[in-house]
């Protein structure tokens, strides 16, 4: 990999999940948020020479994701205006993928709930659940004790439990019937 590629990989590793959640807070669409973050990195890579001088890359990436998410929403609005009429007439058709839609809807709900967490809890959850770090690694990264990390994670789970209550009922009962 080229020198710029390596630098971009490091930025990607450090910020990917945060940026996706950032995009999600505007788009409400997790898959699309991943796409936006991917494409931002593609564009950064393609234009790396021109932007290599940027001093605060984290802020730069957040701003890029923010710009792109809002542009995407506008782009979507224009597309929807045309699509709306067409789908209305198709309303009668059954949706064969209802299950998978419900499934992705659940995932979106989970990500959105994570997005609502207070900053420290969210950071701990992202590092633990999205980045798969061990508690002692999270402690090091956040510069707090492992005990505090566990406190944050369990508080966050308690919060998420409240946010996702209706999903949980479904899942719990479902498992019992199996």
């Amino acid at each position: 990999m080229t020198d710029s590629g390596q630098k971009i990989k490091i930025l990607f590793d450090n910020h990917f999940h945060h940026l996706v959640l950032h995009a999600l807070s505007y788009t409400n669409d997790y898959h699309q948020s991943e796409e936006i973050v991917q494409d931002v990195f593609v564009k950064v890579w393609q234009n790396y020479e021109q932007i290599a001088h940027v001093s605060d890359f984290k802020a730069y990436l957040y701003k890029a994701v923010y710009n792109s998410s809002l542009n995407y929403l506008r782009h979507l609005k224009i597309k929807q205006k045309y699509a709306e009429e067409a789908t209305r007439t198709n309303d009668h058709t059954e949706n064969p993928e209802e299950d998978s839609i419900a499934h992705t809807e659940n995932n979106i709900r989970i990500h959105q709930a994570v997005n609502k967490l207070p900053e420290h809890w969210k950071e701990a959850i992202i590092l633990s659940k999205y980045e798969n770090l061990k508690y002692h690694e999270i402690a090091e990264s956040m510069n707090i004790s492992q005990k505090t990390v566990e406190k944050y994670i369990s508080k966050a789970l308690q919060f998420l439990r409240g946010e996702l209550k209706d999903l949980l009922i479904t899942v719990v009962l479902f498992l019992k019937f199996l």
């Binding site: 990989k9 990607f12 990917f16 505007y26 991943e34 973050v37 991917q38 494409d39 931002v40 593609v42 564009k43 950064v44 890579w45 393609q46 730069y60 701003k63 890029a64 710009n67 792109s68 809002l70 542009n71 995407y72 929403l73 506008r74 782009h75 609005k77 224009i78 205006k81 045309y82 009429e85 067409a86 209305r88 007439t89 309303d91 009668h92 209802e98 839609i101 419900a102 659940n106 989970i110 994570v114 659940k129 999205y130 566990e150 406190k151 994670i153 369990s154 508080k155 789970l157 998420l160 439990r161 996702l164 209550k165 209706d166 949980l168 009922i169 479904t170 719990v172 009962l173 479902f174």
Partner: protein, 337 residues
């Protein structure tokens, strides 16, 4: 619920789930969970949340591979991707008006052709909310009124009102039912039936099969399958049909804006701004963006009663201490300083 939970430290539950608890902790946990069903239930939910939030660990790697593949193939990113300090390629992002008009004409033609292929049952009447103002009711033959939301639809027999009062509904509607004990008024939505004698209530259904009924006055029976399996709802009450459970469950009518689509009135009481903006976006067909996104989400407490967009913006600026600017369909709020 809250009080019951004070007995256990959540980090202990975390340890149990991750199998890190020592013997003493395990004992404490077992005592606690044996105390009540509610504890067991709480633990189940906590554990489930733990599992639900375990995100696909490969997601990052997969996304990185996608980035590399896109860069290798020399693919152009979509025009809406905008790096700071660079202008977007506006020529392609925003179609100019003449192109737009041409496109919508083409689509309208396409729709009128499609319509010919949809065969309606000639004994049925289908009323679509598209052709109605949500504030103007549709008058049914029996004297009942229906307010339909934009993309909602009701269908009923041409003989409606004589021997039966059966309606099927797709979408959201508000009913004011004329009292008539002899002929029950029934609304079927997916798998559920709402039966009434004389009352007003809101029925909401979406494409996932979820149905919600909120009662404003009177008494309503809401059920799936047999009427005995349902719930009886009185004024102020709400129930939802959960398609996964195939069951009707009473719930708190927590959303004060459930009738906003009909009344045009929005109530906010310490509502997080992102939630408030989502409702305003629906009402005014604009994107609302609060700029200082990073330092927490402020809340909003006010009521908007069918105000013009200008009046709403003025009030928001006053409450949030902001100035707004508009770019295309998006309204940005920036703090005053």
């Amino acid at each position: 619920m809250k009080k019951v939970l004070e007995h256990i430290d959540e980090t202990l539950l975390l340890k149990i789930i991750e199998d890190r608890a020592d013997e003493k902790e395990r004992k404490r946990f077992e005592n606690w969970i044996g105390e009540s069903v509610m504890h067991a239930e709480y633990f189940e939910e906590f554990k489930k949340t733990y599992q639900l939030t375990s995100i696909d660990a490969n997601a990052k790697q997969k996304n990185w591979e996608a980035v590399v593949a896109k860069v290798r193939s020399g693919q152009r990113v979509p025009d809406y991707i905008e790096l700071p300090g660079k202008q977007p390629n506006s020529k392609t992002v925003f179609l100019n008006t003449r192109v737009r008009t041409a496109a919508s004409i083409a689509i309208l033609l396409g729709i009128s052709i499609l319509f010919k292929f949809i065969v309606f049952d000639s004994r049925q009447l289908v009323i679509s909310g598209k052709n109605l103002n949500p504030k103007e009711p549709y008058h049914l033959a029996d004297g009942s009124l229906v307010y339909l939301n934009g993309n909602s639809e009701i269908a009923f027999s041409k003989k409606f009102g004589n021997k039966e009062r059966n309606i099927s509904l797709k979408g959201v509607a508000f009913f004011e039912v004329k009292r008539n004990e002899k002929i029950p008024f029934k609304i079927t939505t997916g798998n559920t039936t709402t039966q009434v004698l004389g009352t007003s209530f809101n029925v909401y259904s979406d494409s996932t099969g979820r149905v919600k009924v909120s009662v404003v006055s009177g008494v309503v029976a809401f059920y799936s399958g047999k009427i005995q399996n349902g719930v009886k709802l009185t004024a102020g009450e709400q129930a939802a049909y959960n398609p996964n459970l195939a069951k009707v469950v009473k719930e708190q009518n927590a959303d004060p804006n459930f009738l906003a689509w009909k009344t045009g009135i929005l109530y906010f009481k310490e509502t997080p701004l992102t939630d408030a903006f989502r409702l305003l976006q629906k009402q005014y067909s604009r994107v609302f963006v609060f700029e200082p996104k990073r330092d927490g989400d402020p809340t909003l407490t006010t009521t908007f009663d069918n105000q013009t967009l200008e009046a709403v913006l003025e009030e928001l600026n006053l409450l949030l201490n902001t100035k707004n600017s508009t770019r295309n369909d998006t309204i940005f709020f920036k703090p005053n300083n």
